[in-house]
Each structure stands twice: as structure tokens, then as C-alpha cells.
Symmetry: C2
Subunit: 377 residues, 2 copies
């Protein structure tokens, strides 16, 4: 039920503010994605657009310039280059990563300080979504639902029993004007083992948690205050100083003291337990580009024969070869008689693996870190 | 029978002069081996020595500084760096490649002009031979046999029915002092198909033609004159001018006019038909490093687990990987979950193939040539 009754629809949607947390190195996409050039700064779909640019563009029809980006200081220049429409006031730079609760919480606190009526929608910078119209419609429903006093997650209908995502268990439909598909959320559940995941799919009522949510900033901050009072206090102090000359001093003093935790633990899970979370099912196709096998799936259009080639000016010669080549150099790459191979060629590091082993790239990166080869990470 | 009867052994061996034709790009070893840095300039065995240096060192106990190298002009500096003992007078530079008959014939003609009694031994710069003592003993036998008026090839005992080499059919033992294993040669036969090759091994009396031969320079030139009179005349004119100030002018004028042909057709085969060819069986292990699979075989010592790694300062991380990595860069190379792979990493070109497809590298190079990617060839 829309408790506002006669409220103009546009008044609700006008409260929307996009937030794009752009963090995470994307270790499974090493050596393409790395600390200095993380996943969101790459065009991994052959669309001609980097992931962060596509994320921003996807929100633009909803936010009309009201989009904030939270990222690491090192990426300031790259992000501004990618998003010429981004207002300087909406670029929030972290001096060091403090995990998602701090990043998203800071955006919420700053926005709340500017306008406590804002409904923010947080969408990671490195996901691939099509068609965008279906996504936007889901966000609109989420905004209407959030306006009723909910933290609203957008759940992805699972297509296979993934053990790589957390799940959202729903508890029946809600009756919210403008949000016909809104459902109550009973619980967030951790990444399951395969048997459990198969059970979820058979049982129905489970969706993947893609980390997308829409929430009134005051409600989000209320839960943050309850569950992470130190973090909340720090973020509120920073937010109060943000649009003043004191920002630099306060940020420098407070940020390093903030506890590191994930937004799931700090807000989403306790809010669900309190009955404050709803879900809009996302009937769009969604991919978090988790590994190079995903890049193969997402780039069918770049295929020559059975080989997907990514990279401007790639010079690839293939003979009886299939798989994925990501070329970040101008080198000639010759592939002969090899199937389902993954070759990622960058100026200082080369990865050769197979589609089947794509998930194990992360362990290679961990090994390189341990062995001191940090120059290429 | 030694027709010289009482001749001092040392007088015969003192007539020996090593000749190392250092040509051939080694296309099947692309992109490591290429026009600017051919196979013989690489250390392909992990011995710490390039192939040409090892070839020179193998001859040194026999030639004692009497070794000549014939190579392309472009390799002058690299060859002198590799062979500090090489006399300037013994470095013969070709302005352009004219095939093996011209290269080896020019060496014969120059040596003949200096001393017509010379017995030259021609050994390609890019072969791997162990143990060297067994090789040297075979060469000594070949020199004694050559002194009796034969062109003497050193045949390799076949270990499998190779279709990649020509064969030498022998016709019984000879009786030559100092050369107990000398055999008469009936015929050189072209690279056979596999069935024929299998027949050769069953029949016995066949050896691989490794292109190694020892011959009195006057006998070699006599056969060249009979079979390739234009080539012979040109080479004799160049040789007469070689150690004079006219070398440059004559070389520039005559060399471009010389016909291109292989020493096998111009000398070895017709000489065999004339009954002038003998063979010493080489009871050593021999490899022409024909492809990357050979590099794997020759570098068991460089193996870490099932992976052979070649290259100074190679930074390779492997997880469940086997095969061969040749690193000609300082890049980090990560291999994950891939078997029998061949990865050759050079500054401007990368090859990824499998051991089983190693022979097909040549066709990739031909394709690159045809498509105009000659910068990396």
C-alpha cells in the first residue's frame, strides 16, 4: 500500500540518487585487471565502453546527473576521464579502502547531509546488465518500494545452482503502488555448497544477491548506526565536513580509524532480520564478469571462428584454436592447435590458462603476492 | 687401405679445417628464432652456450683455430661476440643468402685457394650433439677416410622412423686405416613417408643424413664444377680475390649472379652416384632442434615439475601445468591448469601452442609473412 496515496509518482522518483562504489581489483581477471587498472576501467564486453561508463549510463535516465561515485584516490583521473558528466562534488575519493560499509555508508552520509529525503541506489561499477530498460524498470519499482520504508535489494533469478553468490530468500509478495513485483525478504543466505544451491533452485523463492540495493539514506544510516555505531559516527563526522573547507582535515583524521566491514553484515542482514528489506526480482540478464570464462560468454560478437578476441589493435593469428584472447599490447599472438585456451597478454604479465580453470586465476595472484612479485599486481 | 702407408697420423688430421655454415632462420622456432636472431644465436639447451658457440667448441680440439664461419652480413657482430677465438680472415659474410651450395662452396674455394690440401668438415651451426668425444672420434675417422679421396658424411643411427630427415643407404664396410667404421655409400634418399621410413629401419643399413660431411676441398670443388659449372666459376673468381683488396668489388659483382641450390643436389648426391661418398656412423646423440618439442627433450634439466623453462631471469608461476616455456622477456608468466603447452614469449610476439603441434609453427610464420606482419619475422 502506498501510504502517501495521492503522491505524484515523479516526486518519488525524483528522490533517487545513484551511487556507484568502484572498488575491487577483480583478481580473477588478472593480469588485465589489477590494482592500477581495476576491472571497472576495462571494456570487457567489446561494447566500446568501460564497465563503469556503462554503469553510469545505465543510471543516467533515472538519476539525470544525480549519480555519485566512490572510488580510490588512485583512480581519480581515470574515472573523470570515463565519466565526463560526473560532477566534482559527486566524486568521493577514499584515501585507502575500508570495505563496502564505509564506502557506501559515506555516500549515504554525504547525501543525507545534503538532503535527508534522498533514496539512494547502490550499483557496483563492474557488472554487465542487459537489457538496460528492464533494469531501469526494476530500479523504479525499487524506488517506490524504498519510499515505503524499505531497503530494497534487486535479486537476480538464478539460472544455475551457483556456489559463487549469496542468495536472498523471499517471503511472499507485497502490495506497493508502482512496484507490482515487490516481495518481502525473509533472509540473506551465504554462498551455499552445490547441493544446497540445487535445493534452493528446486524450492523456488531464492534469488542471487547481486549487491544491488535501493534505500532511503536515513533508513540505511539508522541500521548502520545500530550495527556499527563507531563506523556510523565517523562517517557522519566526515559527511558534516564534506562540503566545507574542513573536509581534508576531517577525512585525514577520521577515515583511517574506521572499522572495515561489508555492507551486507553492517546493514542488509540485520535489516532483513528486522523485516525492513524488500526485493524486486531483476528479470534482466546479469553478469559480474567474475572470470575470463565470463568474458568469453559476454563477447560472442567478437568471435572469429571459436576464438574470442578482445583488445584494440589485437594482432592474433589462430590455427585450429579456440578460447579467449585478451590483448593489451600490440604484440603478434599466434595460437596453434589449442582449445578452450585463455591468453591474457599485457605489457608486464602474461596469463595462459583454460576456460575451465578461469576461477583459479585468483590463487595465482595470491601466490605472486606471497612471492613478492607485486610489481605486476 | 691407407694408400699413404707410413704417413704420420698427425699429418692427415692437420689437414682438417672446420667450416660452420650459420644460416637458416629456424622458422619452426618462431618467435624465438627469427631473421634478426636465428636459431644458432640462442641457447636452446640451457647449457649457457649458444648453439653456434657449442658447435665451434666441439670442433676446436680438432681444428685448433682452423675453423671458418659462413653467415649473413647481419650476424657479423653477434657471431664475433659469440666466437671471440674466430679469426677475422675466417669469417665469411654473405651479402644475401644463396643456399647451401654457394655458402659451403665459397668456404671450400677460399680454403682451396689458401691450401689445396685442406680437408674441410662442414657442420651446421644449430645442432646439438652429445657426447662431444664420440662426435670428435667420428670426425677423425671421417678425416682419414676423406684423405683416401672420399666425400665423407657422418650418418646418424635412426632411433625412430622419421619422415623429417633424408636417409643414407650404405653398401658395406670399407677398409681404411684410422677409420674402422667407414662404410661405402650407395645412395642418398629423400625424406620418406612413414611406411617407407619404417621399412628402412627394418631393413637396416640406413642412417639419417644430418648434413655433416668431411671432404678434401679439391674433390668437393671437382664435383661442384661438374654439376654446377656457373656456381663453381663464380665461387673460384671470388675466392681468388678473397684475400686481396679486390674482394669487395668482386663479391659485390659476382655473388648476386650465383645460382641458388642445395649442397646435396650440387655435390653429395652426384658424388654418391659416382661412388665417391663414404659414411662414418655417428654413435652419438644428435638433435637438430627442429621445433619446440625438441627444446623440451633437450632441457630435461630445466624442468620444474613437468614444465621446462628456458630463459634468463624467467619469472614463471605454474599451477598444474606442463610443457615448455621460453621466456625472452622479464614478464611474469602464469600458467594455470594447462598441459603440454608451449609458450614462447618475446618482446614483440607470443606463441601459444602444444608440443603435439610444434611442427606447425612454420605455417603460422608463412601466414604472417603473407599477411604482411613481417616486423615480427
Amino acid at each position: 500500500m502506498n501510504t502517501f496515496g495521492s503522491l505524484n509518482e515523479d516526486d518519488v522518483l525524483a528522490r533517487f540518487y545513484g551511487v556507484i562504489p568502484a572498488g575491487g581489483v577483480g583478481t580473477r581477471l588478472w593480469p588485465l585487471s589489477r590494482a592500477a587498472a581495476p576491472k571497472f576501467l576495462h571494456d570487457l564486453t567489446g561494447s566500446g565502453s568501460t564497465l563503469i561508463r556503462a554503469t553510469y549510463a545505465r543510471l543516467e535516465p533515472l538519476s539525470d546527473g544525480r549519480t555519485m561515485v566512490v572510488t580510490g584516490r588512485a583512480h581519480r583521473r581515470a574515472v573523470l576521464e570515463q565519466l565526463p558528466g560526473l560532477k566534482n562534488a559527486n566524486l568521493v575519493l577514499e584515501p585507502e579502502p575500508k570495505d563496502s560499509a564505509a564506502a557506501i555508508g559515506l555516500a549515504a552520509a554525504i547525501l543525507h547531509h545534503r538532503d535527508p529525503a534522498i533514496i539512494m541506489g547502490s550499483f557496483a561499477a563492474d557488472q554487465v546488465i542487459t537489457p538496460v530498460e528492464t533494469f531501469q524498470q526494476a530500479v523504479r519499482e525499487a524506488v517506490y518500494t524504498a519510499a515505503e520504508g524499505f531497503i530494497v535489494t534487486i535479486g537476480i533469478t538464478p539460472t544455475y545452482p551457483s556456489t559463487g553468490f549469496g542468495y536472498i530468500r523471499t517471503a511472499g509478495g507485497m502490495s506497493i503502488a508502482g512496484a507490482p513485483s515487490a516481495q518481502a525478504v525473509a533472509q540473506f543466505v551465504e554462498k551455499p555448497d552445490e547441493e544446497t544451491a540445487r535445493g534452493y533452485l528446486e524450492a523456488g523463492g531464492y534469488h542471487w544477491n547481486a549487491g544491488m540495493f535501493v534505500a532511503p539514506v536515513d533508513l540505511l544510516l539508522k541500521h548502520l548506526e545500530t550495527n556499527e555505531p563507531v563506523l556510523h559516527a565517523g562517517l557522519m563526522e566526515i559527511a558534516a565536513a564534506w562540503d566545507t573547507p574542513a573536509r581534508r582535515e576531517v577525512m585525514r583524521r577520521v577515515w583511517p580509524t574506521l572499522p572495515k566491514t561489508a555492507i551486507d553484515y553492517a546493514v542488509a542482514e540485520p535489516a532483513a532480520a528486522a523485516g525492513d528489506v524488500a526485493m524486486i526480482p531483476g528479470a534482466f540478464s546479469w553478469d559480474d564478469v567474475g572470470d575470463f570464462a565470463a568474458i568469453g560468454r559476454l563477447n560472442a560478437a567478437s568471435e572469429t571462428g571459436n576464438l574470442t578476441v578482445l583488445g584494440e589493435g589485437a594482432r592474433v593469428y589462430a590455427e585450429n584454436a579456440s578460447g579467449i584472447v585478451v590483448s593489451d599490447t600490440k604484440r603478434v599472438i599466434a595460437l596453434i592447435g589449442i582449445d578452450d585456451v585463455v591468453v591474457v597478454d599485457t605489457p608486464d604479465a602474461l596469463l595462459v590458462t583454460t576456460k575451465a580453470h578461469a576461477q583459479r586465476v585468483k590463487s595465482a595472484v595470491e601466490h605472486l603476492k606471497a612471492s613478492g612479485d607485486t610489481d605486476v599486481l
